[in-house]
Subunit: 354 residues, 2 copies
DNA sequence: CTGAAAGCGCTTACAG
DNA sequence: CTGAAAGCGCTTACAG
């Protein structure tokens, strides 16, 4: 059923070699011949088998992408940006999701990535172990990272520490002292994790303002419910309740805002909240945040990788991606404390199946 | 650098044929030989080139996935489920995102999917045109769909119409009459779209209860901000304000709940809200919903596809996936109307860049 | 400008 | 149980 180049050649009355040249555009072919071959190919819906072509050209036109989550906003945006950029250049994208703590992780590096399917690989938010880094290097193909600088892998990353510092300074400049940082879990896994770097930036800013004694970091899952739980936890007792929260990402920030409101706290009247990301929901919640553009990062990473595949490797080991403070109405100058009416927490969900 | 099977064979002092048999497990190999070959392969980190193997076996060990969004919860979950199931079986997943209205769409069907890279293809939430359906059929490989039944493509789908009916009936059974449906846009594109089917189910339930004169459908983007905007729109005027909302998906439902609260309406006191999906945020918002399990659907679709690749095609044209009503506290019996204090809408976001 | 031939790296009948 | 040979579907020097 599926047609081969021999069919096209027969139909156009040329050799396979000429058919190949006409279709690929490589090498001389008389215009008339070229047109005839192309017409023949179209008639039978011929498209070259990429496996066969890869074998001889050594180019797979396929990029591998490795990330720890698919269904988080940041990663989805990055993925979208990569896919679009690759598609524009005729490349496929093969996706590996490294579930935390899954034994599949080793198979991805030692088997899936090793079967010579890719012209290059993009790692997103993944810190390879030394063994993994060696496995990657052995592949002898270009690599690009996003968000987790690693030796020998050119990486695009936000200045996480600097962004955290700026976010904290924004709160300090509004007069806040009692500023809690809700960070993502994972800070303990690696000192270069996003969570760790943002925590460090927070501590730096607090220390620089003479507020180290006020420093307090809560960690939680990097999601809306994670932020909600952490927020409820931090805010439910009136004792030393913070007047401001710096959340490690916008999902946490929004979750914390919702928790605050359920507790009868006004944002920003009783609590200022700032996040990081520029999440698609940030505007709806009028969230002050430090915006980065993950979709653009994905697109840039794909472009850099394809350049490297074409023989123009990236110059810089780490490229700082732009980040800008967007001030909305979730942050405001510190106001005199007011008594918060005792609004009940949310009722426990009564689940029942029908 | 990258090693070939000839290197393994030389190292183990056997022929390439024997090396291949030892590594693949196909055909007889003396145990001692097998061990020697495997050891040799491990020493040099050899993994067979899948392009070369595909060429002779005809199996690519690669599945193509086509979907219209990456960064929406439902699609992310499905993708996660597919990826995991494929990985378990040694398969790769190549992802195509069909951006609405993008000219890339035709290229995906006519070029990317046609280059003989896949053993099978999964379509998620995509209704192929007749030309696309033919292009797919010409590939002569197994196909599986999720969520958009199409001639000749076995599909997993929720009974969207039935689910919408049940959701609406739930509100009616609580005494609500003035029930607005906030649907996804896209109902006009196809009568088989999720949006159209859920709208139809709503209308059926309303009609069956003698409430067709109360029927009202607003459409919006299937996202939290989309639901927020639609909710604000519907609820801001006290004139004939609905007492209940059936949202086409949980994101819309949650957005509408947030809009309601900002307008000073209590949920469920002043407004009951029900959604569809079982979104990861549903519990946090205590949202009543009809739950489906997209991750499971992805996993099931991948399994069905791989079965078909192995020669056991699916029996049924359409498989109904389970859906169950989860009653939480966002829905309650109709209460006597109360005057809603005039709470201001959210302040316009004042953006400013630093 | 075109064709015959070699070869990419595998796997698989076919002999032995 | 093992090896020599053919062949998967392409592309690319190499002649002409």
């Amino acid at each position: 059923m599926s047609s081969a180049i021999a069919d096209v050649a027969a139909r156009a009355r040329v050799s396979k070699a000429t058919a190949s040249r006409a279709l690929s555009g490589n090498g001389y072919v008389a215009e008339a011949t070229r047109l005839r071959v192309i017409a023949a190919a179209e008639e039978i819906g011929y498209v070259a088998s990429s496996n066969a072509a890869s074998l001889v050209t050594g180019q797979t036109k396929n990029i591998g992408v490795v990330m720890p989550f698919i269904n988080r906003w940041f990663f989805g945006e990055v993925l979208d940006g990569i896919e679009q950029a690759l598609l524009d250049r005729g490349y496929d994208m093969t996706l590996y999701n490294l579930h935390a703590g899954s034994p599949d992780r080793q198979r991805v590096f030692d088997f899936f990535l090793a079967r010579k399917r890719f012209d290059g690989i993009i790692l997103i938010g993944v810190e390879p172990t030394e063994a993994e880094r060696q496995a990657l290097t052995r592949l002898a193909i270009p690599l690009v990272g996003i968000g987790f600088p690693t030796d020998g892998i050119p990486t695009l990353a936000m200045d996480d520490r600097g962004a955290a510092r700026r976010a904290t300074e924004h709160l300090i400049s509004l007069g806040h002292h009692r500023i809690v940082h809700i960070g993502g879990d994972g800070a303990d896994e690696s000192p270069f994790s996003v969570a760790a770097l943002r925590g460090a930036g927070y501590r730096e800013a607090m220390a620089a303002a003479g507020l180290e004694s006020e420093s307090r970091i809560e960690t939680t899952v990097m999601s809306l419910p994670g932020g909600y739980d952490a927020g409820a936890n931090i805010l439910s007792s009136a004792h030393r309740r913070p007047t401001a929260v710096f959340a490690s990402c916008d999902e946490i920030a929004i979750g914390a805002m919702i928790a605050a409101r359920r507790l009868g706290l006004r944002v920003p009247g009783d609590l200022s909240v700032i996040g990081i990301d520029g999440h698609e929901y940030a505007e709806m919640f009028s969230l002050t945040t430090i915006e980065q553009r993950p979709r653009q990062q994905g697109s840039d990473a794909a472009t850099a990788l394809l350049d490297a595949v074409a023989g123009n490797p990236a110059q810089a080991a780490v490229v700082d991606v732009p980040a800008r403070l967007i001030v909305r109405t979730s942050t405001a100058p510190l106001a005199p404390t007011r008594a918060v009416p005792g609004v009940a927490e949310r009722a426990p969900a009564e689940e029942q199946t029908a």
